[in-house]
Symmetry: C2
Subunit: 422 residues, 2 copies
């Protein structure tokens, strides 16, 4: 037998759980290695621009925490999370109109873990999850890993369409399918970059209430709006029917891995048990860093700094798209968050086009990653969060050239069918 | 409807996944709130004595990491973990005779997450997991949460009994049961405090090889031996048949939540996908803190400091037990790790006795938490890792008084049946 383990076959291939067969590498993931090369302008990743943080102040805070309170900061904590942090989390959520008690909050390893645990406690194989079309790629991976059946609900420029939601619920009920929850990113959607207006929020809540359907409100970008006050969260108007997922990954630092779930007590109890069996507890040091950062740093001003920075990058991207994209492309004009969602001219396929984009030194995420059924090849997601404005403009310019070349190919040789595998 | 959420019934009670019904609060967990009261000597928890770390040096290191490398340390990392840390992990494992490549290592949120992910990718409901009797309470909770069927294999003072393992495998095979893996803590066992000698290691590996049975070697305490060199890991003699789980929780700091799995490549791939869908990645800051600590601090000397400190506490516990425990008690004499496993005189029940111990201001973990079938009420686990020696002696003295009173009760009123629920 070879000594290089990569040359061996996997002798455990027949022994994995059924769910392991539904765990597949995301399209973003396969991209990262290539997109990280410095000559490529990556409009692919959703990495916050950490450099804009006051790193000296955060470093001092981290050092002091360990030096002065190391016996707590480096020790195991409780499965539910630090009580002081949970209090601060309630204050953060108050900005979105949420009145909550720290006892209803469970701190998690990023909001990704909150979503994983929600799926773990609710989903039996085959259970239906409703999700917007498109939907967050990391959520789809989690749903797949628990063998959920994802049914998409269409969106328009104002987010999920209430009539379509109602119709989908009715259709599934008629087919005897059990819907466990609706997963939604109502504000500055990833990837679609749209936001549900207040009136639709009331309608969606009403539909969920009448259908006895639990709603998971995933809101990592809620405080990253470029104009005006934060949107009122869905959870603010339904304490019983909504589980709210929050994150400090975009407002403070993703590398700390601190997020949370706000849930009714029955669900909260299950989440704590699930968190304990999954990881025992979230890093105490990371939790206390967030707690002390919120207590001692001008965190709301820092969010404004982030918002201004991201708004400038959004503007750079939108003006570059306007200036260089060929006719037939359409894109969203986000009021916050990290992304622009772009529709290619008819007959173009973002997955097929990707290798040519990489050759032209620009990267994006093909739309197919955001649909459980692999559709969406006419879309792509562009991120403006990480590269500086000049790089964004250069990246869009390169992309426009690629799209133009694709249009020429299409006009010469005919189009790819929408479902062509890459 | 009441505004206090605790007064509401759980309206989602019929909607949870089947696995949520097997998630139950551990006996340790229920204890923690009480045992944390200062007047109680807690011999219950497995918390390392973090105060013995050079907190100034670790604090400085943390501060510098954020200040100088914050753009990386506070950013998302890869699902597999930092490459430099994975190299260092291979050097740590070399102390136990393991030759491994960083590519085979997956960094996890403590080794608890590694175990959770292994269970996630291998266990379909009803699949059999073999585990020592007794076994780590956190592992049993994880197995239960994936609806595994745990079958215990007896141990003696030298750990798992090879003949019993063979017999159990044969019996399950005859019954047509599918065994997915054997979960073992071969060194300084939690809670049994025994260690598998070299000769038995070879036999256990041989049995697993012949039965094509994957072995999970959970080894958080391997470097915390009080005499001589570290034991050779099982993984050192079976790269293909063993998944090794390691942790920095006991050798550096539990509050960072950094552990790892060392696995053959096929399993490694699945673990990375599962980790990504569970948490995206382990905290970059925590990973880089461990990497820099290993690179710049005298970490092996620090482990010696821990070992001397824990050895002194073990000695304090053993001499106190010797001095004060009534006839009929038996206990293990650990060569390392955190625990002593104590068998009560016939007819006593550690679960029934616990409230009286708490009244006498001493806490322990009843043996029943360490058996999937709820047996083990004649045992209890005592931890010597956290309290200082004088507290340990006082705790044991109090416990001895409680046991003596129980013996008197037994002699007066007769014994509790072994399976009496508390």
């Amino acid at each position: 037998m070879s000594n290089d383990p990569r040359q061996r076959l996997d002798r455990y291939v027949d022994q994995y759980a059924a769910r392991a067969r539904t765990m597949v590498a995301s399209e973003i993931r396969a991209l990262f290695a290539v997109a990280a090369r410095p000559e490529i302008v990556s409009l692919a990743g959703g990495m916050p621009y950490i450099t804009a943080l006051p790193l000296d102040a955060v470093g001092e805070l981290a050092g002091q925490l360990v030096t002065d309170c190391g016996a707590v900061a480096l020790q195991y904590g409780s499965g539910q999370g630090d009580p002081g942090l949970r209090e601060s989390i309630c204050e953060v959520m108050a900005l979105e109109g949420i009145r909550a008690h720290p006892d209803e909050v469970v701190v998690t390893v990023g909001s990704q873990q909150a979503l994983d645990l929600m799926t773990r406690i609710f989903i039996d194989p085959g259970d239906v999850v409703l999700a917007e079309a498109p939907s967050y790629v990391g959520a789809l991976a989690t749903f797949a890993s628990y063998q959920a059946s994802v049914v998409h609900v269409p969106m328009d420029d104002d987010g999920i369409i209430p009539e379509a939601l109602e119709e989908t619920i009715a259709r599934l009920a008629a087919a005897g399918k059990r819907i466990k929850f609706l997963y939604s990113v109502p504000t500055f959607h990833n990837p679609a970059a749209v936001t549900l207006p207040a009136q639709r929020r009331a309608r969606v809540l009403d539909i969920c209430r009448r259908s006895d359907l639990l709603l998971i409100e995933d809101n990592p970008y809620g405080l990253l709006g470029f104009d005006g006050e934060p949107q009122r969260a869905l959870r603010a108007d339904s304490a019983d029917g909504v589980v709210y997922l929050g994150s400090f990954s975009k407002t403070i630092a993703s590398g700390l891995r601190v997020g949370w779930a706000l849930a009714p007590h029955g669900i909260r109890d299950k989440l704590v048990l699930a968190a304990e069996s999954a990881v025992l507890c979230t890093s105490s040091l990371a939790q206390l860093m967030v707690r002390e950062y919120l207590a001692t740093q001008p965190w709301q001003d820092q969010i404004k700094v982030f918002c201004e920075l991201y708004a400038e990058r959004r503007d750079a991207m939108l003006s570059a798209l306007e200036a260089s994209m060929p006719t037939g492309c359409r894109w969203t004009r986000p009021g916050g968050g990290f992304y622009v969602w772009l529709k290619l001219p008819d007959g173009l396929n973002s997955k097929v086009m990707l290798p040519r984009a990489i050759s032209a030194r620009v990267a994006y995420v093909p739309g197919t990653g955001f649909y459980a059924d692999g559709s969406g090849s006419e879309y792509l997601r562009l991120s403006f969060c990480y590269p500086e404005p000049a790089r964004i403009k250069e990246g869009v310019r390169r992309l426009a050239g690629v799209v133009e070349a694709e249009i020429e190919l299409r006009d010469t040789f005919g189009s790819w069918p929408a479902d062509t595998p890459a």
